[in-house]
Symmetry: C2
Subunit: 465 residues, 2 copies
């Protein structure tokens, strides 16, 4: 008989490093930088600090680089540093239901693990939580067999910073300019985060300084409860098992968002129970009826404060800053829900000007303010754009290809949980509710484009007379 | 400061069920059946038993089904049953380096977890390891918070079977006929496994019986050591740390395949050490030189006995059985290596006959004898087929589309570890070594097709005269 045994998360992901975005050396550089930068921006946002980031990439040999990302964030509590960097599936964002760039508890440990896998070197971390506390310096590796941290160094250090974190990783990588490059990612990140100041030292190149474009932090998303729509029966069963509430009505109001007394009375009636029934006393058939009723009852849309859309004004401004077009438009849809998770779609469009008229449209995809550079064909955004008939809005379009014309599209999905097609967070899974919202946003901006094109054509025709 | 905590594998995958192949109800049915059937075929192969499988799908309500898969395999040891079905990342195949359909330790626990998530019902398991032992009946769920099994029932039962396993899962699903259906999957599985007998009870339909086409088991793949090519520096460092061998030369010969004394002397010389150096005494620079030398030294191709290709004869026979064409060809490439893992590409082609001449070619993809039904655009096989210029072989082909003509392509990759694009095992990651081998196989079969088409054209022209 075969001998079964446990497989650790880390050894699983060593074998599957392509699932984490480390398939090849060029992508590895981008993923490692992105995971560190995402963490810095999240941490600053969470602590109410205007982010100042420093990104350094140094070439050590033909295929070996050292990256460093330093922030002015809240720092990491000393006792947590080993696990944060030396253990996969460990973090503060998975269980909090609000929009953040990170969500899995994997990112930076995976980057460090890839560095260790290809160079044998540990991750170097400096962190300080306040000017009253000393700064700490750690060298950490992942014991991949057990998914536990191995601390090679742990000492106090002098640091001029009052608070913040610096992460250094040495890894096998390739640096290429142009499309999908780290340079592109840094620039798009600066645009999607106008409140951030970024100093970027590319390998062997001049320092690029992205100044803060706005002096105010965007509204920090607030943590919420799941919305009932799309929550699975098994999730409801577990919530009713785990809830501290002694009455069903209180449990529903406490564990979900948008459940009012009116909603409670409607669904308990349909389930043949009362609002004061003990959650644990519910029979499986009663929970099934309750579940069905929750899907059918009229509920307010989820609260918007768990999401932080870029906003129509900032999208237009961001496009204007970098794209030489003569018409800019943006649409931010109201929040929607998939599987109990609020999400919000935004589309920006730049048209005309010096954009080439006979090439395929350029498309930028973002999720939770993070630019996506790879796996376009697997992405829900791409599928939605391809599914819209842009010829109805005045553009050319061949079957199965992006529309062509002097056009740049920027599509952003903000969510408390973005369903990516793999742990590398490169493309968005095509859940029907998400594709539907994407299409609505794209068609809305398409109609505005159509009327602009018609208007311009009319003006041009009149000028000819 | 944010509070970090551990995330269990099971709660991670509940949130990410689309990563496991349970994105929508139609796919969920297919994935659940496939995970159970894969396990049965693997277990029978491992135990040297000619597989007899029974697959039942019963519709219980509009969107609720019960699936059952029963085999005559070796059964599962009673003490292991809870963890096999109630714990993700637990199995016998991840650490064994030979070709099997399963490789992650996730499949059937994920199917059970999805059933539990959508219906609240446990997985029902009957298993027996020999006629001398009693059969056991278990009802198991996954405690998703801790990734541990919860055993709801554990009792002896009467069973007419001498040995085998029966798995029943109730789940929210949709049953559709046609492309990507469970029916298609079962039929393609019967073809790729001519030694298996499969009795299939589709929902509300007649029983289909796929008789055994060959009376002999294919050669069972044998477990091997990794091949040095493509093994990362960090992996080598860990192997030298963990090896029981007291001398470097013995460690290399023991822990890798194809390392001879000649190879050892060549690489230790390049690393500036000797074959009798203690592995743990090696400095990091020495290991780096050793690693470099291992990549450069001339090595025999990996042993073929860890792989079980379908074979050119069986591929042609399989195609002939189901496709009405008038020309059949197959190519099985010699084994190659990516990241230390041996793999082998096979291509089958059916042409002409009653295949429609003006439609896109039909393409069947398989990995380790398992038919892949989804994510074609993300798959290395599709990318390789699209990258070949089939016009050079007498077919039509528009840019970015499959070739068109009276053509069916069947592409199989066999490997000790298939790099899938996600844990759902639906598409193959496009590692350069793999795409290269795919292209070589496709072009080889393309050249044979070209000469067949030329020959036929010549014959037709001569007949006109
Ligand atoms: N620069 C930083 N400043 C403050 N806290 C940080 C920083 N980097 C990481 N952390 C903390 O460490 C945790 C783990 O980070 P990690 O990147 O591994 O996972 P994550 O960001 O939670 O999710 P994801 O895998 O999606 O990136 C974070 O949740 C956060 O609490
Ligand atoms: N029908 C069966 N007969 C015998 N052993 C089985 C059977 N089904 C499962 N097992 C055992 O249970 C283990 C776990 O199965 P599971 O499907 O979860 O993972 P896996 O097959 O190892 O990998 P994968 O996630 O790729 O399917 C298997 O490795 C095998 O040892
Ligand atoms: Mg992160
Ligand atoms: Mg399996």
């Amino acid at each position: 008989a075969e001998r079964q045994r446990e497989i650790s998360v880390s050894e699983f992901f060593v074998k599957n490093r392509h699932l984490l975005g480390f398939d090849n050396p060029q992508k590895a550089l981008l993923t490692a930088v992105r995971e560190c930068v995402d963490n810095s921006l999240d941490a600053c946002g969470d602590a109410g600090i205007l982010p100042s980031l420093r990104i350094e990439i140094v070439q050590l040999a033909e295929d070996r680089f050292k990256i460093a990302v330093e922030d002015n964030g809240p720092g990491i509590v000393r006792a947590q540093i080993p696990k944060v960097f030396g253990k996969l599936l460990y973090g503060s964002k998975f269980h909090t239901m609000k929009q953040q760039r990170g969500q899995q508890g994997i990112g930076v440990s995976a980057a460090g693990m890839y560095g260790q896998l290809t160079t044998g070197k540990p991750v170097l971390i400096s962190s300080r939580t306040s000017p009253q506390a000393p700064a700490h310096y750690f060298e950490v590796t992942v014991d991949t067999r057990k998914n536990q941290p191995l601390v090679l160094k742990d000492e106090k250090r002098e640091w001029v910073k009052d608070h913040g974190t610096r992460v250094e990783i040495e890894l096998q990588a390739t640096y290429k300019k142009g499309r999908r490059s780290v340079d592109d990612y840094v620039e798009q990140t600066a645009i999607a985060n106008p409140h951030a100041e970024i100093t970027y030292h590319p390998p062997g190149g001049e320092v690029l300084h992205y100044a803060r474009a706005v002096e105010a932090l965007p509204e920090e998303p607030r943590e919420i409860k799941p919305h009932p729509y799309g929550v699975e029966l098994g999730m409801l069963m577990r919530m009713l098992q785990d809830t501290p509430a002694k009455q069903l009505g209180l449990a529903l109001k406490h564990d979900f968002s948008r459940v009012t007394d009116k909603v409670v009375s409607e669904v308990v009636k349909a389930a043949g129970v009362t609002a004061s029934t003990r959650p644990r006393d519910l029979s499986t058939p009663a929970i099934e009826k309750l579940h069905k009723a929750l899907q059918a009852v009229k509920l307010m849309a989820p609260p918007t404060n768990c999401l932080s859309p870029i906003g129509e004004e900032a999208i237009r401004a961001g496009l204007q800053k970098r794209i030489q077009a003569d018409w800019y438009e943006a649409v931010t849809r109201p929040p929607a829900v998939y599987r109990g998770n609020p999400f919000q779609v935004e589309v920006g469009l730049a048209y005309g000007g010096s954009l080439p008229g006979d090439e395929l449209a350029e498309m930028y995809r973002l999720a939770n303010r993070v630019p996506l550079q790879y796996q376009a064909s697997a992405c829900a955004i791409t599928k939605a754009v391809l599914s819209v008939d842009w010829r109805g809005y005045g553009l050319q379009m061949s079957k199965g290809a992006l529309p062509s014309g002097p056009l740049v599209l920027m599509v952003h999905i903000a969510s408390v949980w973005v369903p990516f097609t793999s742990e590398s967070k490169e493309a968005i899974a095509a859940y029907p509710e998400i594709v539907k919202e994407l299409r609505l946003a794209l068609m809305e901006v398409g109609r505005k484009l159509a009327s602009h094109i018609r208007h311009r054509r009319k003006v041009t025709d009149e000028m000819k007379k």
